[in-house]
């Protein structure tokens, strides 16, 4: 029976990592609990370094080591815990999709120190938006996303320990032919891979594989395998479709190597990437690459927005709350006064001949932690009606108003998100972000026309609001519409049903407690929008003929009071 190629790839990636963990830095496995993941984890157990499991909530103390307060108090002398970063090895991060920017930065720091650490991210993200931070993924050589049904029953086999050791020893002596690097770089350019980490990691992979195969010099086969392992997850375009503007590198990057592609293929035969190689990677690219790219960017923006101070229950700043007993960590500060106060009544009872010399006797249970209440960040959810009725009349003005509000949001450090609804549905154009350039770009390319699926727009807003709450932000809705809903949730035009749906969902949003403003964009203010605003419990602004500046000013006023 032939083994599925995907299983072999996983085995080779793991074997390469076993040979050069410090250089290849690790693997992302994106799979929910399944036989494949089970097989993967079983294979991990056979890696030379014993895997140590960590989780997204890991404390700095566990990672970097530090004073163990409880033990120190018990023994009356400082007791230090060793952190995971001090002993190199394989770290396995479970539920990696929950990793915050903080932890990603710390893990990156550990990986960048080149002390021989490798990281396995077990990513259980259900939707494409749930994914580990890109800054972390970029550092790890391999990204595996097993989909192949045939993998279900496969066990993954690693080479014998002795073979791995031999390969490890041979690694330093592997020769790299002159044109290998050119090939790797040119290939990366053709797939729109910008980060220079990719070709570097591919080269190291090729070395590791060559060492495993007991060859002396990196050959074509090893290069090809390495490229197939490292590049597909990083590709941002299909090589054949390089001209498509939609596939340009992500926004904000000032136009990197688009022309490099053409240059590369136009040069002499020595630098021309092997067509076969290109095809081999192209075959491994996911068919929905483009859709994924959009989501990945959105997820990136969202991950970023959760980076700065969005936790609701802060413990470092804000309004002080009474101290609570608990275990100190990097995140939680001890309240010394409260700690001493709780220890004070027991001093006489605790005094024994052994500890007579100690001025104060404090038990771990006395420790009180400081708590603060943090004001959470605001998320402005702009929900824009881009339907035909609105578009003709006021879409341009609505866009202008949103742009002005975006500028104010920027000044106040609010997060913004943009939803547009038209035709038969709503679309999240921009996940919560602080990147204004992205917001503006999305907005200016927003076309108008079609029906008014107000209900769908509100559903999208409501989902986003809920999600934002979960992340500790306070959502606020800014709805720009004329209120003339004509597409219900079912999708078939029916004015009465559409209205009913919209009002039901509006009431739901009001129950969620999402504050908001409705800007009526109709030419003549109509009852329809007013009643939606009433259901939403939102302020209603009828602006029969206003320019963008006036709209923006009134909205600001309405939001502020």
């Amino acid at each position: 029976m032939t083994r599925p190629a995907a299983a072999t790839r996983m085995e080779r990636a793991l074997a390469a990592l076993a040979v050069d963990p410090g250089g290849l830095k690790g693997i992302v496995l994106r799979a929910r609990m399944s036989p494949v993941r089970h097989a993967f984890e079983t294979a991990l157990k056979h890696m030379p370094d014993t895997p140590r499991r960590i989780h997204p909530g890991i404390s700095d103390l566990q990672l970097f080591g530090g004073l163990n307060i409880a033990a120190s108090l018990a023994e009356g002398r400082p007791v230090r815990d060793k952190g995971l970063s001090e002993t190199p090895g394989l770290l396995v991060l479970t539920m990696a999709e929950r990793t915050g920017a903080d932890l990603a930065a710390r893990l990156s720091q550990i990986l960048d120190a080149d002390t021989g650490h490798a990281l396995v991210l077990l990513d259980e993200g259900a939707t494409a938006e749930e994914a580990p931070p890109l800054s972390l993924q970029d550092r790890l050589a391999f990204h595996i996303e097993p989909e192949d049904e045939a993998l279900r029953t496969q066990a993954l086999r690693l080479p014998a320990r002795a073979d791995l050791d031999t390969a490890r020893k041979g690694l330093a002596r592997i020769a790299v032919p002159e044109d290998a690097m050119g090939l790797l770089v040119a290939l990366a350019a053709r797939f729109g891979i910008d980060s220079l980490r990719a070709p570097l990691l591919a080269l190291r992979t090729a070395r590791a594989l060559t060492a495993l195969d007991r060859e002396k010099s990196v050959g074509e086969a090893a290069l090809m395998e390495a490229v197939e392992l490292v590049y597909p997850s990083r590709a941002t375009r299909f090589p054949a479709e390089a001209e498509d503007p939609a596939m340009d590198p992500p926004p904000d990057t000032p136009q990197p190597p688009d022309d490099a592609t053409d240059e590369g293929s136009g040069k002499g035969a020595g630098e021309l990437p092997d067509e076969i190689l290109v095809q081999a990677i192209a075959a491994l690219l996911p068919p929905d690459l483009l859709d994924r790219l959009k989501v990945a960017r959105a997820a990136q923006a969202r991950a970023a927005s959760s980076g700065a101070g969005s936790k609701r229950r802060g413990n470092r700043r804000g309004r002080p709350l009474p101290s609570r007993p608990g275990r100190p960590s990097q995140q939680a500060r001890i309240d010394p006064v409260a700690t001493l106060r709780s220890a004070a009544p027991w001093q006489r009872l605790r005094r024994t001949p052994q500890n007579a010399h100690r001025p104060v006797i404090i038990y771990p249970s006395d420790i009180r932690l400081r708590r603060f209440e943090d004001r959470s960040d605001r998320l402005l959810i702009f929900t824009v009606d881009a339907s035909g009725s609105s578009a003709v009349a006021r879409l341009a003005e609505a866009k202008g108003a949103v742009e002005l509000m975006l500028a104010q949001a920027y000044a106040r450090r609010d997060h913004v998100a943009l939803i547009a609804f038209r035709g038969d549905g709503a679309e999240l154009l921009l996940s919560p972000t602080r990147s204004l350039v992205q917001a503006k770009r999305q907005l200016s390319s927003l076309p108008g026309g079609g029906g008014t699926p107000l209900a769908a727009g509100l559903v999208a807003a409501s989902e986003l609001a809920q999600h934002a709450r979960g992340r500790g932000m306070s959502p606020t809705l800014v709805l720009l519409t004329d209120g003339r809903a004509n597409i219900p949730l079912s999708g078939t035009p029916d004015r009465a049903e559409a209205r009913q749906d919209a009002e039901t969902i509006a009431a739901g949003l009001a129950r969620q407690g999402v504050p908001g403003v409705l800007v009526d964009t109709a030419n003549r203010p109509a009852e329809s929008a007013r009643s939606i605003a009433a259901r939403l419990g939102a302020d209603y602004l009828a602006l029969p003929r206003a320019d963008a500046h006036k709209i923006s000013a009134s909205v600001t006023a309405a939001l502020e009071h």
Binding site: I69, A101, V185, L203, T253, P254, P256, A304, A308, S435
Partner: protein, 334 residues
């Protein structure tokens, strides 16, 4: 700690390297902000620069790297008078760091186990006379950034908490890096970094190949690679040291001062900070190049570094501010 990549072996990225060298010549410039894509060698460059600089002389065991025994703060209780050499410190400030860890705080260990009130120095103490490197500065919590910039400006870290009242010298070059895709920095904060640089991946295939080649050589045959680049690094080090000595004697004519003002006015930058930084950066560059006076050429070379991030920018403006500065430099300086 592993060896740092040689500074001179970094391929391309000349603007970033220049900005870093300028701050090494004149640490008073107020730091560098490096914004750019992933995998462009931002942190490599910072570490490389620090490794290139000559070791500093410090009192043995002093937590704030004091140069003379009398500069050691009282709370540190340093008894040694011995002077030792130490590499220029580069302190990494991780995302999500607490204020305690940055400024230092009551030493809980001693307070609770021995009942003594003493100060446990933080990252700012360790960074004194060196570099403080903040990766992803745009994701750092605002209050930490505020605190850092404040200390960087005053050169003194003052801690008033938990019954402690401590101050110690904290002079360091602040280097921030980040990816603008993931969020922006408040304009008020942008303005407080002395210089700013935008880096991007090299687009030239040959240059990219060279990056890979050198990195690979560094990783697989470290000793040979280091020897090979040692001389080049030595040259830069010498040039920086000479420039430091020359800095004071490098003259700025009234015409140059006028040019600085004219440029800042034309670009509408806020406050005088931009103007001052422009002049200081130009002076550092002149000293580096061995010129006795600052010329317009120096000004126009450093103008994008010193001014691009200070433009009163429309947050929705997409035109690159570096381009705007360059255009204005051409207009004003002719």
């Amino acid at each position: 700690m592993t060896l740092a990549f040689p500074f001179s072996a970094i391929v391309g990225q000349d603007t970033m390297k220049q900005a870093l060298i300028l701050t090494a010549i004149d640490p008073g410039l107020g730091g560098v902000l490096v914004f750019g894509d992933r995998g462009t060698g931002k942190s490599t460059a910072v570490r490389a620069l620090a490794a290139l600089l000559p070791p500093i002389e410090v009192v043995e065991g002093c937590p704030v790297n004091a140069a003379r025994p009398e500069d050691c703060p009282d709370w540190a209780e340093v008894r040694s008078k011995k002077i030792v050499k130490r590499p220029t410190p580069v302190v990494d400030l991780p995302l999500g760091v607490t204020e305690d860890r940055v400024t230092g705080a009551l030493d809980i260990e001693r307070a609770l186990t021995q009942g003594e009130k003493s100060f446990e120095p933080g990252l700012l103490a360790r960074a004194n006379r060196g570099y403080l490197y903040i990766d992803e500065v745009n994701l750092l919590e605002d209050h930490i950034v505020d605190l850092l910039l404040d200390v960087a400006q005053s050169g003194v870290n003052a801690v008033e908490r938990e019954g402690l009242s401590i101050r110690h010298a904290a002079r360091f070059v602040l280097v921030g890096s980040g990816n603008p895709e993931e969020g922006e920095l408040r304009p008020q904060l942008l303005d407080r970094f002395g210089l700013s640089v935008e880096v991007m991946s090299p687009t030239d295939i040959d240059e990219r190949i060279e990056v890979i080649r050198r990195r690979d050589a560094f990783e697989t045959d470290t000793d040979r690679f280091m020897t090979k680049w040692k001389r080049q690094d030595g040259k830069i080090r010498k040039a920086i040291l000479t420039a430091r000595d020359r800095l004071r004697d490098t003259e700025s004519s009234d015409a140059i001062l006028k040019d600085c003002a004219a440029l800042s006015l034309a670009l509408g930058t806020d406050g005088l900070r931009g103007e001052l930084t422009l002049l200081r950066a130009a002076r550092a560059l002149a000293a580096y190049e061995g010129a006795p006076t600052i010329t317009r050429d120096h000004l126009s070379k450093v103008a994008p570094l010193a001014l691009a991030h200070r433009l009163r920018r429309d947050p929705l403006d997409e035109a690159g501010s570096v381009t705007r500065v360059s255009r204005m430099v051409a207009d004003v300086l002719g």
